[in-house]
Point group: C2
Chain length 224, copies 2
Amino acid sequence: MAKKAVILFSGGLDSTTCLAIAKAEGFDCYALSINYGQKHSIELENAKRIAKTMDVVEHKIISLNLSELGGSSLTSGDINIPDYKGDKAIPTTYVPARNTVFLSIALGWAEVLNSFDIYIGANDVDYSGYPDCRPVYIQAFENLAKLATKAGVEGKNFHIHAPLLRLSKSEIIKVGMKQGIDYKMTVSCYRANSKGEACGQCDSCVYRIKGFNEAGLSDPTLYM
Amino acid sequence: MAKKAVILFSGGLDSTTCLAIAKAEGFDCYALSINYGQKHSIELENAKRIAKTMDVVEHKIISLNLSELGGSSLTSGDINIPDYKGDKAIPTTYVPARNTVFLSIALGWAEVLNSFDIYIGANDVDYSGYPDCRPVYIQAFENLAKLATKAGVEGKNFHIHAPLLRLSKSEIIKVGMKQGIDYKMTVSCYRANSKGEACGQCDSCVYRIKGFNEAGLSDPTLYM
């Protein structure tokens, strides 16, 4: 029996690639999506379809309405999602503590499954400067996971896999193409409409477009 | 204007004492309860009533159904909540990664509020050996909080206050009595019924009963 891994899986380009990598590395994959009040919750419909094509053992969607906390243009009706600016500032699409919340839920599920491998598609190259996508953060969560759990106390080590951490977007796309991913099925756009079509202007779209360009591939994304 | 603190607040004996301490320490208090699929969700009704008597600025109840992950007698219909056994084993009431999930949500809210103080009623003395109640865990989460957040990157430090960490249950009760807490309003029992009445047999009840005994106080708890 293969080892189990929990994969944080939004249905976007990065996490779909991450899922394909976990599969290629021989894990039985348990995909975890979070319905957190994101405006582009259409991504979850795509996540469901992709999970089916990728033979995950189970795909769980957990609801936790982070929009009740406010403070992010990705969840709050009061703040518009900005176009890509290209400066160094962390944009308003930052969701406070999002990856910590997501990894915590993944950790809980992993412990229940007797799994010690968690995959997250965090990227520290072509990204918006989110603090919880940095290697130092991923390492700190891995340390915490051991201290936080019964399994950790019993001597087990959790491994937080972030295989995309140091790849450019074009490198990520090339890895995924080798694994046979149909990126047309993935939704990255923060403003994706109910058909999953992308705006082409937000941070997430701009990094994605740049990735296909630099990879010398035609962009399969459906635009509005 | 006083500084703000986020207090993880279940409506139980420990977190109510923790809220009273945060208030006494001069913070404007933002109480956070989680409806996580706990069988004793009646505690949240008590939490609402207590929050009103304690003049919190806001009391937020966030839903996140951890029973979907299973693995704990506190959330899963498949596992009965055990009576107190008194051995060293971590009981089935352990909820995998619970405090990490709760602290993560508290961290998100704190960052939105521009608050850098989070209170948790974790206790490392009269407790069930949960790994995420130990000082080493609390410290690791504090380290993570700085790395996880925009505020942390900008130089702010989050402080995870766990004022009950090294107190016995009787010491906690004495602290709370000085702050005028009416412990009759609090629910600790894992099997609390719809009236908030306690079983007297579960771990949580046994530690509470022991606390009132050792403090030389009559136990105000309502039993079934």
